[in-house]
Each structure stands twice: as C-alpha cells, then as structure tokens.
C-alpha cells in the first residue's frame, strides 16, 4: 500500500496517494469532466497539465466552479 499525503482541498484537510498527479486526484475527488478549475498553491493548473502535475505533501488545492450569483 502506498503512503498517503496530507494536504488541503478548499481549505479542508484531505489525503492523496503518494505519487499521484492532479488528474488522478481529481478523479478520486469525483470532479466532473468540465466546468471546474484547479489552483495548486495559488497557481492555476490548466486541465491539460493535470496529468503532469504531482500532488505534494502539504499542498493547498483550490477547486472552483460556477455558482449562482450576480
């Protein structure tokens, strides 16, 4: 069994498998295929780069989408 990394998702504590990338982690979170964006430690990561971006220990992930407003 691979080790788990502690991190935060939208300000809440979460864990990810060590060595997983953002695409895998997004799938674990059950994110929809469209309509969401991710910022990793304040930097926006385009969806095309998710598979090439590793999730690291202690990182802060923000997942955003649309909400009723305006």
């Amino acid at each position: 069994m691979s080790a788990e990394l502690a991190l935060t998702v939208n300000g809440k504590p979460a864990t990810a498998r060590e060595g997983s990338n953002l695409a895998q982690f997004a799938e674990e979170l059950g994110l929809p295929p469209r309509g969401v964006a991710i910022a990793l430690d304040g930097e926006i990561v385009p969806r095309s780069q998710w598979a090439f971006t590793l999730v690291t220990k202690g990182c802060a992930i923000e997942v955003v989408s649309i909400a009723a407003g305006g």
Binding site: G35, I44, V64, A67
Partner: protein
Amino acid sequence: MEHRYPPLVVGGHEFASRLITGTGAMTSLAMLRESLVASGTSLTTVAIRRFDPRASVGLFDLLQELKLVVLPNTAGCYSAREAVTTARLAAEALGTDLVKVEVIADDTSLLPDPMETLRATEELAGAGFRVMAYLSDDPILARRAEQAGASAVMPLGSPIGSGLGILNPYNIGMIAENARVPVILDAGVGTASDAALAMELGCSGVLVASAVNRAEDPPRMAAAISAAVEAGYLARGAGRIAKRTQALATSPGEGMPELL
C-alpha cells in the same frame, strides 16, 4: 425567441437578446430555469466559488441545456489581483474569454472600486479577455474603462439589489452618448420601466438579477423586463418628442362651432 432589435455584439460575441440575466438569489434551480426561459436571455452571469458538487453541477448542466452563454463575474473580489485570478480560473473552468469585472469597495455599499476595477480591466484586456466592466455611473470612469480595453462598460443605475432604478439618467445618457463600446445598464433595476428607461437613454442592453430573482413572480417579471428592453430600444430609435414646460395642443383651434 425573436427580438425586435439587432443582436448585441460584445468583443466579437453576438447575443440575440439585449437582456443579460443574473443567476443569484433565486429560490430554486427550477424557478431559475423558468425565469431564464421567460427572459429570452442569451447571456447569463455566474459567480466563481469553491466547487460544491450539489450546487455547481446542476447549474452548469442547466445553462448548457438552455444553450446560454455563461458570463463569469468576479463578484466578491476587493482587489484587481483577486479579480484577475478569478477571471483566469473562470476562463479555465468554462473555456471562455468573457468576464464581467466586478471589484467592490466594501460589503455594505457594494459600490465598485474604480481604481481596482480599472487595473483589473487593463490587465485582463491586455491578456486577451473580453472585459465587461462594472462601474459607477461616472462618464469619465466609463471613458477610462474603455481606454483600458473594456469590451463593454456596465454603469450602475443604483446600488446592487436596491431596486432604486436609474438615479442619474443624465450620467447614463452621457455615458451612452460617448461610448464606442456597448453600454449595459447594470445594477439597480427594480422593475420593467427602469429597463425601458435605460434603453431609451441609449444603453445597448440591461443586466438584471434581483429585479427578477427576488420578484414575487420571477418568470413574469423576466418576461416584463424582456418586453421593456425591446420597448425602450424601439422608443429610442423612434425619437421622442422634446420635453416642454407648457402644454401644446394636438387638436386644431380653428373650426370650433359656436355652442353658446
């Protein structure tokens, strides 16, 4: 829905309806759907927030189903920096270059911060965004926003959610007269006549949220405001009579019979 006016064009995007709607403050997704349909809108604005599987997905699917163009806004941002990041997140999530830049100064007046708005507008327009800038009703600020690269300027009629209508029609008229980009009256509309007035003053379109979504019967108000936008556009083109301080009879004075 057919409209008795040409489409609204903002930064190369064409919209059949000149009524832009907001999705906030609606009681339910079903009611929102009914109102959006009744409004005949082509473009609807949404906020960008942390992903919530219950709320985000339903709204996203609804807007897709109704084939509405989504206008992400930067509501909730107090600085140009936050607004720019929010716009970039929106572009990434939605694949759009449209953004309504809304940078407010405080959470009680909800009035736009002109300096931060201009900064965000300049930076985003420079990066290729089609910026629709939410502004106070200041003709000089509107000019500055246009110079900063805004694709449309959105002066407020009165504060967000106030329903006070257009408090300074002279300023709105002046902005519309001088702008070379579309002017969208944003914020303050309370009922249909406010939207008609905006169009009569020369605005290219109107954005409403609270006026519809907080009305007693939102779909009916959406239909009313849609008709008002059309009426205002037609009236503007028809050339209203000049206002006079004294009456001017429409019946001839001659040919009156002697009746005494």
